[in-house]
Amino acid sequence: MAQNDINKIKDHAELFHQSEYQELFAEKKQFEGGHSPEEVERVAEWTKGWEYREKNFNREALTVNPAKACQPLGAILAASGFEGTLPFVHGSQGCVAYFRSHFTRHFKEPFSTVSSSMTEDAAVFGGQNNMIEGLANSYKLYQPKMIAVSTTCMAEVIGDDLQAFITNAKHADAVPHDFPVPYAHTPSFVGSHITGYDEMLKNILTTLNPTKPTGSWRNGKINIIPGFETYVGNLREVKRIAKAMDVEINLLADNSDVLDSPNTGTYQMYPGGTPLADAADTIHGEATIALQAYSTVRTRKMITGWGQPNQVVRPIGIRGTDEFLMKLSALSGKPIPAELEAERGRAVDALTDSQAWLHGKRVALYGDPDLVIGLVQFLLEVGAEPVHIVVSNSNDDFETELRALLDSSPAGSGATIWGGKDLWHMRSLLFTEPVDLLIGNSYGKYLWRDTKTPLVRIGYPIFDRHHLHRYSTYGYQGAINLLNWIVNALLDELDRNTIVPAKTDISYDLIR
């Protein structure tokens, strides 16, 4: 019997290695109609070569393993960062089940979102009744302070008019007349999750800041927009830095407490978020700093329209963080404190300590545009060489910016930006032009398995490792975290490659 030791119960990781199950697998093959092992091996080898790579890159219609999600996912992440806010997705209900599962698996936290549950009849007659009923029910059941509406592709294809529906819902007393119901059209066949984030944030801010700024009065705060941020540690790090500098910031939208709430034995549906009053004061901020560019394009355009200065600074690595601190200092007139300068010194010291192991290491990476730029900034600082850069949700401005960054360093000049490509393209790249390290989300583990390229998990989603999202990648602390993950992945790999006794273990060194 396979389960033969009550003190060591075997689950799937061991159970199926037992001979009973190995025999079962072998027997099952007679019915499967599979290919011969030789044929499988032949094709597997073929997929590793240049001929296959060429075919693979000639694809026009097929996408395989893309590194991007759709707009409403970003929209509800933006909404989740505001106090008492219930994300509401208008359209088919299955989408919401998927979004909630996805965020929950990454953050290991509850994620509340409602759907207007449209079905066939709504496809024919439009979703107004679903919207009105949905608003009335969710308002009563979940007592939010704001309901942020985004859409699924179903509602977009049939052309539902959100503005009219919400106005009518208010006339029907589904929610009070003065209750904020910002809405964003977020069709999944346009852009990606980062576009959805931008749309929703812009519309929340527009709804909460309906008027032009009055006169020259400013509230003394600096608005900070994180963008599609999935590291709660980053939000906390930004707040910590601002506090250390004694700079008052208005973080929009701050979901760090929502997506990392303490276990007190009591469930709270709305455990934090940017206060609506603060969000409504965005318009009176001194200036806005966006920590991502391509998930905040339209929001920044709106802010420019307010006449408020704004710009993008990515506080990743040493120089990125330097720029962020200097920007905060310039805007606030506050000096950069010794405490942060010492942190900088420690981070630089750490980078110096590890640099020899990173120098000239060839790296492949993929992810959202801003994440990729931040990582490239960091890799160039430590002398690593980005080689393959895949960005499924790319755009021209991003590629121009990234190219300029790469060309600013000899370590970057050999990199190719593969905009609009996917992880099956990446597979071909890794086989034909191998690298030392791959950086990406959990889906990178399939590339690790196939190509044996060691994987450092940075990005979204991270499903198969715990708690990485609690760390920061921002600030000098974040630089140490990135360094830690990257250099130790390389050292682990070195150990793995030198672990065979009497064969490779001459280099299995104790001191590195």
């Binding site: 119960i9 099952k28 019915f31 097929l62 209900q93 698996r105 308002y139 066949f189 469930y267």
Partner: protein, 496 residues
């Protein structure tokens, strides 16, 4: 808080509790939801709840959609076919590798289970239609993944709304390529939950796979045996179908096909030749079992491989459909595992005895796993289905006790309120619910994904099930939640 003793449960009048839970709803929604909540009365033939109707908008239902039922459940696990998420990128992305339908195969070469294939619709595809793109895509799959045995087209919402003719594309490309191409109209807005997606997917197997069955069986010179069976409705989550199959083979049956966990297209082709269809998840695959009964005169029966009591009963019932040899084998197998089961019960039952459970899952589990809990001495106090039908609630009556709370398509607010008041020792539900209840300091196990553990089916699976319930209930972290300086019990304890 300690879990060594069953939680103190204040006597709750469940009828009153249901009224309380309904209280915050607006009138119209309250009326609708009232029909989905009840207390089981053993004098009745079902659970006294309405089911399989539209969810209440804005209620925070846990339900998914028809696409999830077809791509995610029925079709997705068929490992040697490429399943195309046809439409925008999201649906395929969110369902990519989400269900742990284990399989043996070289991914990307002869198996495709943990990959995502999509037509990644852009605005122009919605405006001009996606049929041309789909045709090209199917050809590209064929070129880059030549060992695939076929492809399925899993429609996302826009497909049905823009009037694409995926059936025409399927017919044309199937002819050109010479392989099975299955168009599935599982757009997410169809029906009220993933349930219709199961049905639609079942129908496409009937219409697009079975017509070639006879031909394939002949070509392969498939020899029919007297003990041929198929496992229907086991998705091999964490290897469930394997820890079931091993028992069926041990009693002398020949398992020709697994639907659909670790299954292949060929196994589907061969199924109309089996002698008996063994249905585990009735909800998602009863349709194809009924079809095979009508068309090929293959009888089908439901079985339950959760917990030793039901496993033994199921093995005996299955064996009764065959001859004395199989029946004797079944007795021998039940006897063979007795020692293993005794060891599991001896170890874990004392740790779990008397603990109460609230369940809420999909498919078959709101009833099927109850006996596994009972075997461990645990008691079910509430259960319900995400997307069950009335026939599920009828079947449920065989598994539950008088007075059990029943909730159909329970909303987040209802579930939270029920659990707060009933204070079960364990909540067993899905990923969206998990952390809500863990924040309430309640032990929780995911009953869709087995919380990344499993298998839970069969005798080997039961040992893991028992281990996992114990580790959830008796985790030392629960006792860390109250601060030692809190004003309640902890302080008093420290004073002693």
């Amino acid at each position: 808080m300690t879990t060594t003793e069953p939680r103190p449960v204040a006597p709750v009048d469940v009828k009153t509790l249901i009224e309380e839970v309904l209280e915050p709803y607006p009138e119209k929604a309250k009326k609708k939801r009232a029909k989905h909540l009840n207390v089981y009365d053993h004098a009745k033939a079902d659970c006294g709840v309405k089911s399989n109707v539209k969810s209440v908008p804005g209620s925070m239902t846990t339900r998914g959609c028809a696409y999830a039922g077809s791509k995610g459940v029925v079709w997705g696990p068929i490992k040697d076919m490429v399943h195309i998420s046809h439409g925008p990128v999201g649906c395929g992305y969110y369902s990519w590798s989400g269900r742990r339908n284990y399989y043996i195969g070289t991914t990307g070469i002869d198996s495709y289970g943990t990959m995502q294939f999509t037509s990644d619709f852009q605005e122009r595809d919605v405006v001009f239609g996606g049929d041309k793109k789909l045709t090209k895509l199917i050809e590209e799959v064929e070129e880059l993944f030549p060992l695939n045995r076929g492809q399925s087209i899993q429609s996302e919402c826009p497909i049905g709304l823009i009037g694409d003719d995926i059936e025409a594309v399927a017919r044309k490309t199937a002819k050109e390529i010479g392989k099975t191409i299955v168009p599935v109209r599982c757009e997410g807005f169809r029906g009220v939950s993933q349930s219709l997606g199961h049905h639609i997917a079942n129908d496409t197997i009937r219409d697009w796979v079975f017509p070639n069955s006879e031909k394939v069986a002949e070509e392969q010179n498939h020899q029919v045996g007297p003990y041929d069976v198929a496992i229907i409705g086991d998705y091999n989550i964490g290897g469930d179908a394997w820890s079931s199959r091993i028992l069926l083979e041990e009693i002398g049956l020949r398992v020709v096909a697994q639907w659909s966990g670790d299954g292949t297209l060929n196994e589907m082709f061969l199924t109309p030749k089996v002698k008996l269809n063994l249905v585990h998840c009735y909800r998602s695959m009863n349709y194809i079992a009924r079809h095979m009964e009508e068309t090929y005169q293959i009888p089908w029966m439901e079985y339950n491989f959760f917990g030793p009591t039901q496993i033994a009963e199921s093995l005996r019932t299955i064996a009764a459909r065959f001859d004395a040899t199989i029946q004797a084998n079944a007795e021998a197998v039940i006897a063979k595992y007795e020692a293993q089961i005794k060891a599991v019960l001896d170890k874990f039952r004392p740790r779990l005895e008397g603990k109460t459970v609230a369940l809420m899952v999909g498919g078959l589990r709101p009833r099927h796993v109850v006996p596994a809990f009972t075997d461990l001495g645990m008691q079910l106090i509430a259960t319900g289905y995400e997307f069950g039908h009335n026939d599920d609630y009828k079947r449920t009556t065989h598994y539950i006790e008088n007075g059990t709370l029943i909730y159909d398509d329970v909303s987040a607010s209802e579930f939270e309120h029920f659990v707060k008041k009933l204070n079960p020792d364990l909540v067993a539900s899905g990923i969206k619910e998990k952390y809500v209840f863990q924040k309430m300091a309640l032990p929780f196990r995911q009953m869709h994904s087995w919380d990344y553990s499993g298998p839970y089916h069969g005798y080997d699976g039961f040992a893991i099930f028992a281990r996992d319930m114990d580790l959830a209930l008796n985790s030392p972290t629960w006792s860390l939640i109250p601060t030692p300086w809190g004003k309640d019990k902890a302080l008093a304890a420290a004073a002693h």
